[in-house]
């Protein structure tokens, strides 16, 4: 495996190049672009995902017109969570990006869910 050691450039003498070498930068960029292309879905996949999201939205509206019950509420919430996950995972690339970003966002999300669940308990929205 050829990498870029952080030592003075020896490219002129035929040795490995440093990170400051423009040629190495270009090679890094090309490699990163390759990784990007491999990891991110294609345009066609994005279109299919969007179509699936549209179908789920149509199903949500259909369920709204059914007789309301706790089952329909749970199904609507599940569909909402599915749409949320798909948009965050694929369109926002959380599924493919660094886990650091995922943790950062999920931390905010979990904190919000926890804080407002406590609020709901305090105000009697949830009955235990």
């Amino acid at each position: 495996m050829t990498t870029t050691p952080p030592i003075p450039s020896t490219a002129a003498s035929g040795g490995p190049a440093t990170a400051t070498d423009p040629a190495t930068d270009a090679s890094l960029a090309a490699e990163a672009a390759l990784i990007e292309r491999h990891e991110h879905p294609s345009d066609g996949t994005y279109i299919l995902i969007a179509l699936a999201l549209a179908v789920v939205t149509a199903a949500e509206v259909g369920i709204f017109y059914l007789k309301s019950s706790s089952v329909t509420t749970v199904v609507l919430l599940a569909m909402m969570a599915l749409k949320f996950s798909v948009v965050a995972g694929y369109f926002m690339h959380l599924k493919f990006d660094s886990p650091v970003l995922r943790r950062l966002f999920v931390a905010g999300l979990v904190l919000a869910c926890f804080v407002y669940s406590v609020v709901f308990f305090l105000f009697g929205v949830f009955h235990v």
Binding site: M1, T2, T3, T4, P5, P6, I7, G14, G15, P16, D25, L28, A29, A30, E31, A32, A33, I35, E36, R37, H40, D43, Y46, I47, I49, A50, L53, A54, T57, E60, V61, F64, S68, T73, L76, L77, M80, K83, F84, V87, A88, F91, M92, H93, D97, S98, P99, V100, L101, L104, F105, G108, L109, A112, V115, Y116, V119, F120, F123, V125
Partner: protein, 212 residues
């Protein structure tokens, strides 16, 4: 000499695993650019903001003592179309990013403009909805339910409007040749904001409009 390795081997969180061409010039300890990290931290904090607004609406949704409430006035087919439009704007946004990552600046502008247009359609729909509600007697001061509804959806609308301004600014920058492939990350960061606005609407649409 060809196999000298002084860097640590790439793991799941090492910079090399997640570098985009735009990031190749300044490595960070996390392997993610500071700008992108900042945007995700901002979006994490936005979860708390919108969580507060949605929770307030849920707490007040049945507390109105007089006047019409949003649930009596909703036009679900109309709002469904608005939701569909915003969802499709997320598609055009991700296609814009894919275009600039391929170096296709013309398609970047086409998809960014499409996204801004779809966002404008959504905002126009929201203005129409608010106008319709006000004409039917539900203003922000009518009761606590209407107040919570207008604050929540109004804040979301303000976020969409800011997103449209960001998108149009990107189109302007691209026309001036300031968004080459190597700077595609600024499109990605704007896209993160736009998608977040979309997923917030996914929650609002279900919790506020569809669940009785």
């Amino acid at each position: 000499m060809a196999d000298i390795t002084l860097d640590p081997p790439p793991g799941p969180e090492t910079p090399a695993a997640h570098h985009h061409p735009a990031d190749a010039h300044h490595a960070t300890a996390t392997g993610v650019s500071n700008e992108k990290m900042m945007m995700w931290a901002f979006l994490g904090s936005e979860c708390l903001l919108f969580g507060a607004l949605i929770s307030t609406y849920i707490l007040y949704r049945h507390k109105a003592v007089h006047g019409p409430t949003p649930h009596g006035l909703y036009d679900i087919p109309f709002t469904s179309v608005s939701s569909f439009v915003l969802l499709m704007s997320s598609l055009s946004m991700v296609l814009a990013l894919a275009a600039i990552q391929r170096g296709d600046e013309r398609r970047l502008r086409v998809w960014l403009s499409t996204t801004a247009m779809l966002g404008s359609v959504f905002i126009a729909g929201q203005i129409y909805e608010f106008t319709s509600f006000i004409r039917r007697g539900m203003t922000i001061k009518t009761n606590v339910t209407s107040g919570a509804f207008y604050v929540l959806t109004g804040f979301h609308g303000a976020h969409v409007t800011i997103g449209i301004i960001m998108l149009l600014s990107l189109v302007n920058l691209s026309i001036r040749g300031k968004i080459p492939q190597a700077r595609s990350e600024i499109v990605e960061i704007a896209g993160l904001y736009w998608h977040f606005v979309d997923i917030v609407w996914v929650i609002i649409f279900t919790v506020v409009y569809l669940i009785p």
